[in-house]
């Protein structure tokens, strides 16, 4: 164990993503997953999110920046955007000028009061050590800020109030509602929207081109559909399909629709059909058998619920009253599942409610 840990420390704490930009490049680039390989290096590389990009581009001209609050669902470019901007603003002196704290760092009150405050109080001149001009401030990035306690946020607010001269704050979170109002009101807020289908397709096509392989249009479309606007997920699915299904020995040279189905964890439609058939038959025994078999397959039940909800809504043979009962229960079951609840019991409970719904005449 000791030996395992003592392997030479990567040049103290320096994040890997900054490494590649440095002069002292290793002779060989380390192979990294595509999500990292294709992480935007410049603000101009960021797909979508025009508003925030415009503000950041302007800040590069004027050398000023408001406090920022970036929020939105995973994989929409929040972390990438601010890191790219920081890199462009400060070049290789990013380490002196940027403090990044995320949910893996201790961000309790004491850290806010000491580490953050100390960093905020450092002077920042408008000339870099190498003589080139640069903006006269530092940036403190608080990524995944929704995981901070309210007390820590309150402490942060004080620091934000005081250190306005040479420090800009950038908070990043999924849900803006988790950030206390005194902080949000001090920031310019930018919502990161789930990426549009065309944009994702464009990006994936670009990557496929760089990596020199082909992908069926159908397959591409299906990746986009299953990613729900999360580009990180889309890229991972793309890479997995290519790496797992298109090796050198291999069956095919092109990524196909089937590969995507397998890699993205979609539940095959036959299971959804079967479930609906079974609950419509109102046979509890048949339901139990179905669920036994289904749970052995280990499909994600939350994925199953997502797909099922669409199917139920679209099904014209189900009355509105029945839909209301079923979807209400679906909401409850999904919630329980995500906060604690086993697949088997949640699904069987949901199924029995469906049976009850179908036993009602209208």
């Amino acid at each position: 164990m000791q030996a395992f840990l003592q392997g030479h420390k990567l040049s103290a704490q320096k994040p890997a993503s900054f490494n590649s930009q440095r002069k002292e490049k290793k002779s060989r680039e380390k192979p990294i997953p595509w999500v990292e390989k294709y992480r935007p290096k410049k603000v101009d590389d960021v797909v979508e999110q025009n508003e925030v990009c415009a503000v950041l581009r302007e800040s590069m001209q004027t050398s000023d920046l408001p406090n920022l609050l970036l929020y939105g669902p995973p994989g929409t470019g929040k972390t990438s955007t601010i890191l790219a901007a920081a890199r462009q603003l400060f070049g290789e002196f990013i380490k002196e000028r940027v403090l990044e704290l995320n949910a893996s760092d201790d961000r309790g009150i004491s850290v806010i009061r000491t580490k953050v405050k100390n960093f905020a109080q450092l002077k920042a001149s408008n000339i870099r050590p190498d003589g080139k001009p640069c903006p006269p401030f530092k940036i403190i990035i608080l990524d995944e800020a929704d995981a901070m306690t309210n007390a820590a946020q309150a402490a942060l607010r004080r620091t934000m109030e005081k250190e306005t001269r040479t420090t800009r704050f950038c908070l990043i979170c999924n849900y803006v509602s988790k950030i206390i109002e005194p902080i949000t009101s001090r920031c310019t807020k930018f919502r990161f929207i789930p990426l549009h289908e065309e944009k994702i397709i464009e990006r994936l096509k670009f990557i496929a081109e760089q990596e020199k392989f082909n992908i069926e249009d159908e397959a591409l479309k299906s990746i986009v559909e299953t990613s729900n606007g999360d580009l990180r997920k889309a890229i991972t699915t793309l890479q997995s399909c290519y790496r797992l299904k298109c090796g050198s020995d291999i069956k095919h040279s092109q990524v196909t629709l089937l590969d995507v189905f397998e890699m993205s964890g979609i539940v095959p439609d036959s299971y959804l059909e079967e479930f609906i058939k079974v609950v419509k038959s109102k046979e509890l025994q048949a339901l139990e058998n179905f669920i036994d078999a289904f749970t052995y397959e280990a499909y994600s039940l939350s994925q199953f619920f997502d797909q099922l909800s669409i199917k139920i809504i679209m099904d014209e043979t189900i009355t509105n009253n029945q839909k209301a009962i079923i979807l209400d229960k679906l909401g409850e079951s999904s919630f329980r599942l995500s906060t604690g609840g086993s697949e088997y019991l949640q699904l069987i409970d949901f199924g029995t409610i469906c049976i009850i719904a179908f036993s009602k005449q209208n």
Partner: protein, 357 residues
């Protein structure tokens, strides 16, 4: 002498007995250096761990099989010392952060980050990265899961994380979005039967097909359990007979008896007895959600369908509370009490019907 489960555990991806296509896919994945973090998910005994070990061997060769067990000690913010068990080779380390209970976040922020930051010691290795295997991630607090997010991105050049979970539903979306999911479904009855036969051939034993089938069916399609049962059956009685009793795992037998006690009498006094039995199971380390699910399954087989749907409704409610709270016994007991009351009422109604006649 090692148990058959260990003795006949495949060591290489190409030797895996089922989900062969997936094994070939994984092998292909290992050929490249740039694969993403992985998340293996599937029911227990479906072979997730075996697949992970085979992958490690594919990546690092046999030296990934030279394992050390070690205990790491870390200090919590409140200055408490907590130990955690790890298994490691020169190239990988495996641990279960939820072992640290409410301190699981500290494991992620301190230990995992520390490991992730350090490059591989053995520069002779063909791989530039090391692997951290984290088990039972679904049992981690949300706090701990959040702490893992950015670590997974920052140090990806030096370290790949392989997560191993039973179900993905309690894993936060941010982590799912950072992994390639590998679904490992339970082996089919036929696949289990084939494996049991294979083991017996190697042990020079004759296994009647009927017995193999019985074991496979009793095993809940859990391969580990099936092999353990086979070995227990051999100890119990050999030569095998096709109708010989399949020795189920102790805790399941105990649970069946518990269910019988519940069915026999629905009174507060009896509830107390049940509580002791549930405690007993918990103290033997049987996970509370497994106890809950199995108990519901056993009890409902003894009920009519009108009672069943009520039971399922309560079961899902109490189980949900149990898994979001932290004192399993309360919720297990609450469920049993609820069951008793429903069942008793049902029995009363039946006898009333008779009286009416």
């Amino acid at each position: 002498m090692s148990l058959w489960v260990d003795k006949y555990r495949p060591r290489e991806l190409s030797k895996l007995d089922y989900h062969k296509e997936q094994a070939a896919d994984l092998k292909r994945l290992c050929e490249q250096q740039d694969f993403p973090h992985l998340m293996f998910f599937g029911p227990s005994g479906s072979g997730k761990k075996t697949r992970i070990q085979c992958m490690l061997r594919e990546l690092y060769g046999t030296s990934a099989e030279r394992l050390r067990n070690e205990t790491m000690t870390f200090t919590t913010p409140s200055n408490k010392k907590v130990d955690i068990m790890t298994v490691s080779s020169n190239y990988h380390i495996e641990l279960n952060p939820s072992d640290a209970g409410i301190y699981d976040r500290v494991i992620i922020t301190d230990i995992i980050k520390q490991i992730a930051q350090t490059a591989n010691i053995d520069s002779g290795s063909e791989r530039d990265f090391k692997v951290i295997v984290l088990t039972e991630i679904d049992d981690l607090t949300k706090d701990a899961q959040h702490a893992l997010r950015r670590t997974m991105e920052k140090y990806v050049a030096t370290c790949r994380i392989i997560l191993c979970v039973n179900s993905t539903s309690r894993v936060i979306p941010a982590i799912k979005s950072r992994c390639l999911g590998i679904r490992v479904s339970a082996p089919s009855i036929e696949e289990i039967v084939a494996i049991l036969h294979k083991i017996c051939r190697k042990e020079n034993l004759t296994l009647p097909n009927e017995l193999a089938l019985n074991i496979a069916k009793t095993s809940d399609r859990n391969l580990r359990r099936a092999i353990l049962m086979l070995e227990a059956a051999k100890v119990q009685k050999y030569p095998f007979t096709s109708n010989q009793q399949v020795p189920d795992v102790d805790w399941k037998i105990f649970l069946h008896e518990t269910a019988n006690v519940i069915m026999r009498e629905q009174t507060p006094a009896n509830l107390e007895k049940i509580r002791d039995r549930l405690y007993e199971l918990l103290s033997h380390g049987i996970p509370s959600d497994i106890i809950f699910r199995e108990l519901v399954k056993i009890l409902t087989t003894k009920c009519d369908s009108e009672v069943k749907s009520q039971i399922y409704g309560y079961a899902s409610l109490y189980e949900h509370r149990m898994l979001s709270g932290n004192k399993p016994i309360y919720h297990l007991e609450a469920f049993v009490a609820q069951f008793m009351s429903i069942y008793k009422k049902y029995l009363n109604d039946i006898t009333m019907d008779f009286d009416d006649d």
